[in-house]
Structures are given as structure tokens and as C-alpha cells.
Symmetry: C2
């Protein structure tokens, strides 16, 4: 939780956090500033101190609105920095960070570095800064960084925002279901009122529109995939595909607040008109695992235990899984879930890769998303809810939605 | 232009380009892959060779759709890499890049590094790779990199996409103008048909909706700012502000293709109902500079010459400018324009910071956007079109739109 940040910095021997990059669609910046339309900025937080926002002169009002202590970068005139760096732009950027750090009283210690940047610029600037300030060391652990540890558990205000995204998400899913069931079928495919064949592209256009209407964005896209594409977990669905009856459709929707705030993550699998027995069998297997896992979740248990349970349940029903066949492209081929917050994928991991130390704890918001994939049979099924582990230890689904598999279609 | 890439790599002594990060909303990746919904991938291009796309196993179909040569990262099993790196995740990532580079025959030379990444991860992985492969050096120039030089000039296919975004942009601007002029004024502010006061937030919601309807996104937001906010160039406008008659409204809209493709950039300034003389004076000054600059643009001239001309024209009319007063927050306080493409801001620069070598040349797509800002008077004016320098050297505005200042409002 954000309030744990100083404690986590202490526990990990981090003396300062530097977050950099755009103010939107950049989780570390959004987390530390609360959001705000800054083109590019830096936040420097020393352990035990409030964060300080460094902003460009023309964004002084946007910066002030964050409520953070601010420093106008006009107080480091570029001309002067360029002169001091003998006309080298990279050198002038390094020098600016050096002055920012020195004025904050930070000339030695461990600095954790965050935020969205061009990879080449990050390497150039911060390896330059490392040379210029040998007393500093940049913390280079990937994965479970201090900020990600803090972000993994959400406070009530964060949960309220995720819950609101859940309501928007399920409302849009409901509109899509209503839209599909209001179409007619002809020769096994959906046909619009004007006689045009309905395509995945048309459905996705409506999803984008309805999300925008509700004030949400889907910067990572939406998966609405039928047939073979549903059988490959990350296929987002081909725009020209038709909506054929009796084929599995995976609808995985993961929008965020406008400007790149909190996400929600949700999946249902549908068959239009009717479900072939084989698809129904897969659906029942996934539903069984989905409901069993949700029922079994308990504070204190390692997350990977549930991945193992999901694999075991699928294997008992005759499916391959990555637990026993890491290379399999059939059966249960991905992790059971992941944390959700300002990142669509964040801590905790819910897979075999999770360490023993990753355990269910109050404040976590995460997905439960078992699935089965059979590319050769052109079938895929996945069910996903986003759950919250409440302060009292109870597990709550943040947005309820029916688990119907077949959507009835008129002929 | 993309076809110049090998030549530019040669001229800059670059042996390879590595682009990394998400496949969407990540200009270097979109440029090299043509787009595609990849969660995370790498593109390695050796000089004189076609680019190779490294993708995760579950995104093999999305990867194949790019038409590039592909390598499935499943051929570098994580378990094996982790073992070789003694269980260190960072080490395993470094090792994977090392193997990718070595198998591509790249063990020495200069590598230019691109793509959106977490700053800390970029520093950790690529400084680790630098140590593991001392024969490689990562090119660290900021600003005018090889890829940015290539991207600055657009081929006809790219211009067609930007032009289409221009049409969408001006259509949405027209809808906003129609919407505003269809409202009634009461006590000096716009009132909706249902009697509710119209707010900036309501206008922005419609802008987002109409952009989504047209298949566009605005990942960087939209500036629709009135009064004091219009007088501060980067204020995006407060959602709760009312639409008061006689105040300057800056409407700066810069959407991109869905998924993070090509941008368009466009600004008009409006006064609802009437314009006070002082605002009209500012508008005429900006219009004069805007039209003069557009008329004067000539292939071969250094871009900064136009910045100087804009400053001179504004100063002749009694305004302060950053040319002679770098710190001023009144008058003409920003650059005259910038390149537009997969980035909303790219090469060339159109300001005093541009080098003598940055010249107008065929293929450039860039903005012309003079403006005047008077925070104390709560007035700001900016006009902006996106122009293309055609292969024949003629300058063309990619989307025409009227230059009316006052939008008539019924009482």
C-alpha cells in the first residue's frame, strides 16, 4: 500500500525513488502524482520525505494541481547546462539530474528508478549519471521492486476506482451481449438489420465506443476472438471474421480509467445460438476450475499453490497443462492470474514462477482466469473475474456478471 | 524515410538496431513491425538485413501477421536461462539477449537501442548486456537518432495515414463547433437544452466519443481550455469550467490511429458569441504570423529561421518572445512547431534549439503553431495546422479547416 512505501524502502535499503516520464499512462508517475496531464516530469522521493515533482515551466499549473511540492525545471536553464556540458545534450541532461539530486541532499545511496522511457535514453542518461555520481547506485532488481510491492496491495480509495472500472466493464459486456442477441442468424452467421454480415471489427468498434461513452479507455486493446483465434490465448481476434454460431468466442476486456489510471480485467466465453458437446465439455471443465479456485482462496496461502491446484484439476479431467508439460500449446497454457492496478499485469504472480513468499494477503486485487485451448479443434474457453482480498480476509469479486455460455440467437 | 534506414545506419556507423517493448503505442516497434497487438517483443535489425521479430510463444499468430521473419522466444526456455544465470532473473534476461545477438552473428559493433521500457529495467538489462558482451557498444546519442532521422521524412503510405487522421480530426472539430453553436447562452454561459450548464468536461466527453466513433484515439488527451487555462500553453482545461462568452478557448486536438499509430496535430482558437477587442487583436497577430510563416516555408531553409521570423513578427507587434526573453511567460512562449508521425512530437525541431542542419526537406510532416499567451489577462490564442513538404517541394496543409475566431451563439 502507498502508506507502506517508506517502510518498504527501509526494508529494501532504498534511499530514494526516482520516477520519470509522462504523467499519464505511466503507472509509477500516476501512482506518485495521483495523475495529471504532464507531458514529461520527474518525481524524486527520498525515504521518509514527501515526493517532489520536477516539471517544465509551461506545465506549472498542471504540476501545482497534483498537490505535491513542485520544482520548476526553469530553475535549471538549459543554456547554462549545455554550456557546462560543452554543448553535449546528453551531458546537459545528466548534469540536470546531478543538480536535482545534490540539491535534494542525495549524493550517495541506493536509488530505485521507475517510469516509462525510451530504452536507449534510459541507458545513456542513467549510466552517465552513475559515472558522474559514483556514490549513488541504481537498484537493478527486476520484478518485485519496492514500488511494485507497495502497489500490489490497494487501499480503499484504489479499490473504489477499480470497482468502478469493473462496473463499466460489465455494463459494456452486457451491451455487447444484448447487441449480439438482437441480431438474426442466416446460414450460420450473424446478419445485421441492414443485411450486412456482422464482423468482429464491427463488434470491437462498438466496444470502443461504449467504453469511451463511459469515460474509459482500452489502451491495451480488447480480445474478441472466435474459433481458431479463441484457441490461441493472446490472439485479439481478426476484424474481418464473421460471427458464426456454435463457435467459442473469448471476450477478454481490460479497460482503464481515462488517461491511464486503474484497470479492470474480465473474460467471458460465449457460443452464439448453440454449443457443440465438445465445446460445452471444455466450458464445464473451465467453470469447475474457476469456481473451485475462487472458493478455495485463503489469506496466507502461497499464490502458486492455486496454480498447482488448477493444473491438477485440469489434468484430472484429461487436459495437458504447463505444470507438467511446460511447452504445451494445448490445454491449460498460461498462468492462473495476476495482480491488477495501474498496470494490467502487476504483482502478485499467480503462476509456478511465483516464489513461496508471494501469498494471498489483504489488499490484493487480482484475476482468476483458468482457460483451455485447442487450436486444432478451433476452440478456446477462458473465464476471468477480478477479485479483491478485503481487509477482513474475505475474497470479493469486484463486479458480478452471469456465467452463461450460450447466447440465444433468433433464426 | 524507412527505405533510408540502411543508408542512415551506415552514415552513422550503426551495425544494428534493437527495438523493444509493447507492439502498440510504442513508435519504434510500430515503425519496424507495421503495428500488431504484441504485448512485448523485440525487433533486431542488422545493417543490410531485414528485421527479425522475437515474440512470446502465445503471440506467435500475431507475430506472423506482421510479415516479418520471426523467432519464437520459446526457443530460449526460461528455466534453462535461469539455471545458467544461477537463478537470477535479471541475469537470465541478459543471457537471452546475449544468445539472440550471438545467433544473429552480432558479437561486436555499435547497437542503437529503441522502444518504450521501464527506465530501471532498461538500465539494468542493457548495462548488464554491455558487460556480458564487451565487443558491443550501445549508441547513446539522445535526440537525433538514426531511427528518428528515418522517421522524420514520410513516404506516401505514411502521409496517406496522417492525412486520414487529419480528416477525422477536422471532422470532430467541426462537430464540436456545431455542438457549441447549437447551444443557447444564459447569463453569459452556455446552457444545454435540459437547462444544465455546459462544462468543459461535457465537451471533452463528446470529443472522446466522436474520436472513438471515427476509429481514433487520443492517448495524450485533448486541450480544450478557456480563459486563464488558455493562457498557459499546456493546461488541458478544467472539466468543471463553464463555457463563458467572449473568452478565448484554445482547442488543440492530437489524436492517433487506434492502437497507437500515426498522429495528427491541430489547433483553433474560438470566442463564443463575441470577441473583446483585446482578444481580437491577439487573434489577428497570431493569424498574421501563422499565414506569413506558412507562405514563407521553402525547401532547403533551416527550420530555426522560421522560429526567428515568428519571433521577429511578434516582436514588431509589441509582444515578448522566448527568442529575446528566454524566461518570459507572456507573449510567444513556445516553439513554432515540430514533426508529427508515430510520435506526436518528433523530428524536425522548429525552434531555436534546432541545429543549422535541420532544414525543410521533402517528406517532412510538421506543425506550424504560433501562439500568444497572457495569463494575467486570462487570454491565449494559438493556431496550428499540420503540413507536408511534398516530393515536388510544395507545402501542403494536410487537412483544411476554417479560421473563424468567433462562433455565433443564440441568446
Amino acid at each position: 500500500m502507498k502508506s507502506d512505501l517508506d517502510f518498504l524502502m527501509h526494508a529494501n535499503q532504498i534511499d530514494a525513488i526516482l520516477a520519470t516520464g509522462p504523467g499519464d499512462h505511466n503507472p509509477p508517475m500516476v501512482y506518485l502524482t495521483g495523475g495529471g496531464s504532464l507531458t514529461n516530469a520527474d518525481v524524486l522521493k527520498l525515504r521518509g520525505q514527501a515526493p517532489v515533482l520536477f516539471h517544465s515551466d509551461i506545465e506549472r499549473d498542471e504540476a501545482a494541481r497534483t498537490g505535491l511540492r513542485t520544482v520548476n525545471l526553469a530553475s535549471y536553464p538549459l543554456g547554462e547546462l549545455m554550456k557546462a556540458a560543452n554543448g553535449d545534450f546528453l551531458g546537459s541532461m545528466v548534469l540536470r539530474y546531478q543538480r536535482m539530486f545534490e540539491e535534494a541532499g542525495l549524493s550517495r545511496g541506493r536509488v530505485a528508478l521507475y517510469g516509462r522511457m525510451e530504452a536507449g535514453a534510459a541507458l545513456a542518461i542513467f549510466s552517465g549519471l552513475q559515472k558522474a555520481m559514483p556514490g549513488l547506485s541504481f537498484v537493478s532488481e527486476l520484478g518485485s521492486t519496492v514500488l511494485m510491492q507497495a502497489m500490489a496491495t490497494k487501499d480503499e480509495a484504489e479499490v473504489a476506482r477499480i470497482r468502478r472500472m469493473g462496473q463499466i466493464t460489465t455494463q459494456v459486456v452486457g451491451r455487447v451481449a444484448d447487441f449480439l442477441t438482437s441480431q438474426r442468424a442466416k446460414d450460420g452467421v450473424l446478419v445485421q438489420a441492414d443485411g450486412q454480415l456482422l464482423t468482429i471489427g464491427e463488434v470491437k468498434k462498438r466496444i470502443n465506443l461504449w467504453l469511451a461513452e463511459a469515460g474509459a479507455e482500452n489502451p491495451e486493446g480488447t480480445i474478441f476472438a472466435i474459433g481458431y483465434d479463441a484457441a490461441v490465448p493472446h490472439s485479439s481476434g481478426a476484424a474481418s471474421d464473421l460471427l458464426r454460431l456454435g463457435q467459442t468466442i473469448i471476450f477478454d476486456i481490460f479497460p482503464c480509467e481515462s488517461g491511464g489510471g486503474y484497470f479492470y480485467d474480465f473474460t467471458r466465453t460465449w457460443c452464439l445460438g448453440y454449443a457443440p458437446d465438445e465445446a460445452l465439455g471444455l466450458y464445464e471443465d473451465v467453470l469447475h476450475v474457476f469456481q473451485t479456485i475462487k472458493y478455495e482462496l485463503q489469506v496466507g496461502a502461497p499464490t502458486r499453490q492455486y496454480m498447482q491446484l488448477a493444473c491438477q484439476l485440469f489434468e484430472e479431467r484429461g487436459h495437458l497443462t504447463t505444470c507438467s508439460n511446460p511447452q504445451t500449446q494445448e490445454g491449460f497454457v498460461h498462468g492462473l492470474g495476476h495482480g491488477v492496478g495501474l498496470n494490467i499485469h502487476e504483482r502478485p504472480m499467480f503462476s509456478q514462477l511465483a516464489s513461496e513468499a508471494e501469498r494471498l494477503q489483504p489488499g490484493l486485487v487480482m484475476t482468476v482466469e483458468p482457460g483451455l485451448y485447442y487450436p486444432k479443434r478451433q476452440m478456446g474457453v477462458r473465464l476471468e473475474d477480478t477479485i479483491w482480498v478485503r481487509p477482513d480476509g474475505q475474497v470479493e469479486t469486484l463486479a458480478e456478471y452471469p456465467l452463461d455460455f450460450v447466447l440465444p440467437i433468433k433464426n
